[in-house]
């Protein structure tokens, strides 16, 4: 499968990449791992005149703790994120999700920045980031801007980023109270398949582990972009953990009702809605049980 000719430049730094991208015009693209971009160029879905490759930039692969925030460089690879001790400690839901992306081969070169910028409605990193109220930092020629993840996506394949901008990093606030999260995805093949539906469920209890203070549920693959489902979340907020268990079916119904899946070659809309219902229940069981066990330990 041939790729149409294009020009190629390697960027030596983020600033260099921004300059080159700006000069190259709107038909240029940045290349991270290439697992989406090269595939799309092979399929002739995208025909860029030039690629600016970020591969020489080694200082955008970090995961760092700074005060209350966790910073993840856009070029961090899924395989590294899936087992990163800082992420496992604070936001294991993200490790779970990126660990399910594609195959080991894809995770070894695919980046979290590429997953977000590609803006697939089914991208696995997105629901956990929505459920964690993450933000992204976009580098422009005139400085950086921070955008909450819930206003980053505009539609399938579309983000608020301009063609001459580059995603620099992802910011996640560390949970300060007992918290737990769970990501489940449905796919036809056990590996190497995008999700038909993904459910991210993150909850926080009060310090004594008695009461649910925050619930955030995000769905992927069942709307033009990943969505939060506040009605479902509100079913559980403020309840004691034991009462929350009782309300799981109601919460799952509300989440399924808020989903707007479409029929496609992979599955019918009805099936996807049913799956959302089942996955929200399973996620909720898991998360509430984890929170309850913390209480047992403390």
């Amino acid at each position: 499968m041939r790729i149409r000719p294009f020009d190629f430049k390697a960027a030596t730094s983020l600033a260099d990449a921004l300059n080159q991208l700006d000069q190259a015009g709107s038909n240029a693209r940045v290349l991270a791992g290439g697992t989406d971009l090269v595939l799309n160029m092979k399929k002739k879905n995208i025909l860029p005149s030039m690629l600016i490759s970020l591969h020489p930039i080694k200082n955008l692969e970090y995961v760092e703790e700074k005060n209350e925030m966790i910073h993840i460089g856009a070029l961090a690879k899924h395989a590294d994120l899936a087992i990163h001790p800082i992420l496992e400690k604070y936001v294991s839901i993200l490790c779970q999700a990126v660990g399910l992306i594609g195959s080991w081969q894809v995770r070894n070169i695919g980046t979290i920045g590429g997953n977000l910028c590609n803006a697939s409605p089914a991208a696995d990193a997105v629901p956990p980031l929505l459920a964690l109220d993450a933000a992204v930092v976009i580098a422009t020629l005139h400085g950086e801007k921070t955008v909450p993840i819930n206003s980053f996506f505009c539609g399938p394949g579309q983000t608020v980023m301009k063609p001459n901008e580059i995603l620099k990093e992802i910011l996640i606030k560390k949970p300060l109270k007992p918290s737990a999260g769970c990501y489940l995805k449905l796919r036809r093949r056990k590996a190497v398949d995008i999700s038909l539906a993904g459910v991210a469920f993150q909850a926080e209890s009060d310090p004594s582990g008695q009461r649910i203070e925050q619930v955030k549920i995000a769905l992927g693959g069942v709307a033009p972009t990943a969505i939060r489902v506040p009605d479902a979340e509100n079913c559980l907020v403020g309840l004691s953990i034991d009462d929350a268990f009782q309300k799981i079916p109601m919460c799952a119904d509300k989440a399924a009702n808020a989903a707007k899946p479409i029929d496609d070659v992979r599955a019918t809309a009805d099936y996807k809605r049913t799956i959302v219902n089942v996955f929200v229940q399973r996620c909720a069981q898991h998360v509430l049980t984890t929170l309850k066990n913390y209480r047992g330990q403390s």
């Binding site: 190629f8 160029m41 399929k43 195959s103 081969q105």
Partner: protein, 162 residues
């Protein structure tokens, strides 16, 4: 579309090449370096036949542009083992884990990376690691057996040294 210079270390040998931007690593390995052990199945990242090790980690050579891995170390099946077969290759033969052999180079590369990272993987860990490598012949059990037997061997060896 100009050819651009790259430096690759393939199976521990240095190569200085000029390649066009639209060529993937798989084509450069097979056509320019004549290392035809690496196979092209789907060309779309779905079958794992093209798996090579990039700085020790399995990746798809069919979706990786050659220019993107400038300066990197690549290991292909030709670089696994040497005069003698690698224990993994022996195990694949012994356990009947090779039928048509098309998946084998990619499978062995993935397994090699797994064992380098985790000397004695569980059956589940093996299945997870090779989930991106399709085999249309063996039914996988023999492949998992072969990798598993190597895990135990390297553990035994380590034990022996102690």
């Amino acid at each position: 579309m100009n050819q651009l210079p790259i430096h690759l270390v393939v199976n521990k040998e240095d190569y200085h090449l000029f390649v066009k931007p639209n060529r993937v690593l798989l084509d450069v390995l097979r056509e320019d370096l004549e290392l035809t052990g690496t196979k092209e199945g789907c060309g779309l990242g779905k079958c794992g036949a093209c798996t090579v090790l990039l700085n020790g980690r399995p990746v798809h050579a069919c979706l990786t542009l050659a220019l993107q891995v400038d300066g990197c170390e690549i290991t292909t099946i030709e670089g696994i083992g040497g005069e003698k077969m690698h224990p993994l290759q022996e195990a694949f033969v012994d356990k009947g884990a090779i039928q048509c052999g098309f998946c084998t180079p990619g499978m062995i590369n993935t397994a090699k990376a797994l064992l380098d990272e985790n000397a004695n993987p569980s059956e589940e860990e093996i299945k997870q690691a090779i989930a991106g490598n399709l085999c249309r012949c063996t039914g996988y059990n023999k492949i998992v057996d072969a990798i598993h037997s190597c895990g135990c061997q390297s553990k035994k060896k380590k034990g022996g040294i102690k």
